[in-house]
Amino acid sequence: MHELSIAVRLVDIACEKAAALGDVRVDAVHVRLGPFSGVAKEALSFCFDSAAFGSAIEGARLEIEEVPVVAFCPRCSAERQLAGPQHLCCPVCGEATPAILAGGELELTALEVTDHAPHR
């Protein structure tokens, strides 16, 4: 299981990005996760709170958007969304689809933040 080290890395990046936004509280961290990232959603969720503990984004939620595998079908000449990573073939014509266009990502996409009230 390597999700803890990945969660730590994710928290580091989120803290870096949050710092650039000024005086904000991070309420949520949004990521996109593809099946070919080699990262398990549940394990990442499980590790995230511990990884964020004591950091600038402690208490933030992790929102994971799971994205499908998308491949190019050479026979249909079209992009196709596949059912999963186990069988790389076109769902329409059955042709093998070695060219993967998406599905390998683990990407921080957005931060949900609240601006702190200006100090008097």
Binding site: H2, L10, Q86, L88, P98, E107, A110, L111, E112
Partner: protein
């Protein structure tokens, strides 16, 4: 008021960038880098040991070997007389590009033709980390079951070559070759598959020839003219 700020940054970006740098450096210095991945016990060290033995007379070789603990594998490989360096990862279940860079820091890469990297035995975590290698070889031993590729599609999908090991045991364990090939190619259409037995030597020649061919092709691609 909460607001959403778009950021977009890949969590593996740092590793991927470093791996790209490493790959460019390997190309520039003319060293062909091949990594081996598999579950624990599939025979990475055995295959590598024999490969070093067979190639050391004609090619300048070195190996990096990753393990959670012990330097047993590095010592086995060092018996061949080839320079070997152990990367002990502690509790980390995979190698990453930074570990490779650190392990190579004081090595004269220019004096090498081929560098082998033996990853930690693990079919999950290594799939997320590019090491800057030119060839990633995934090993599947006949004793593991033909459905391994379906259980671990990501690692098979990132591989450039599959090697079925311990092929001398295929009959004894009722290995279904067609099923294994089918499963490998379900998760990685068109992937090249070789079969070897390190113990009997069966399949070693095609494996060595493939390494020679791929490293020669790479050398031709990076050397202008």
């Amino acid at each position: 008021m909460p607001r959403i700020v778009e950021v977009r940054e890949g969590v593996f970006k740092k590793n991927d960038q470093l791996a790209r740098h490493l790959r460019a450096r390997f190309d520039r210095l003319g060293v062909f880098v091949a990594s081996l991945v598999s579950s624990p016990g599939a025979g990475k060290t055995a295959l590598l040991q024999r490969t070093l033995q067979e190639l050391k007379a004609t090619r300048r070789l070195a190996a990096l070997v990753g393990d959670l603990a012990t330097d047993n594998d590095a010592r086995r490989l060092a018996e061949t007389g080839v320079p070997v360096r152990q990367i002990t990862t502690g509790t980390v279940c995979h190698l990453d590009a930074e570990m490779i860079e650190r392990a190579l820091a004081d090595w004269d890469l220019e004096s090498l033709d081929l560098l082998f990297i033996e990853n930690v035995g693990n079919l999950v975590c290594p799939s997320s980390y590019d090491l800057g290698e030119r060839l990633r070889v995934v090993l599947l031993s006949v004793t593991e079951g033909e459905d391994k590729p379906l259980k671990y599609p990501t690692i098979f999908n990132t591989a450039d070559l599959a090697v079925i090991t311990k092929i001398d045991l295929a009959d004894a364990v009722g290995f279904d070759r067609d099923e294994a090939y089918r499963n490998i190619r379900h998760v990685r259409p068109g992937l090249d598959i070789l079969e070897v037995s390190v113990r009997t030597g069966l399949g070693m020649d095609p494996w060595l020839a493939r390494l020679e061919e791929l490293s020669a092709r790479r050398a031709a691609a990076v050397q202008p003219g």
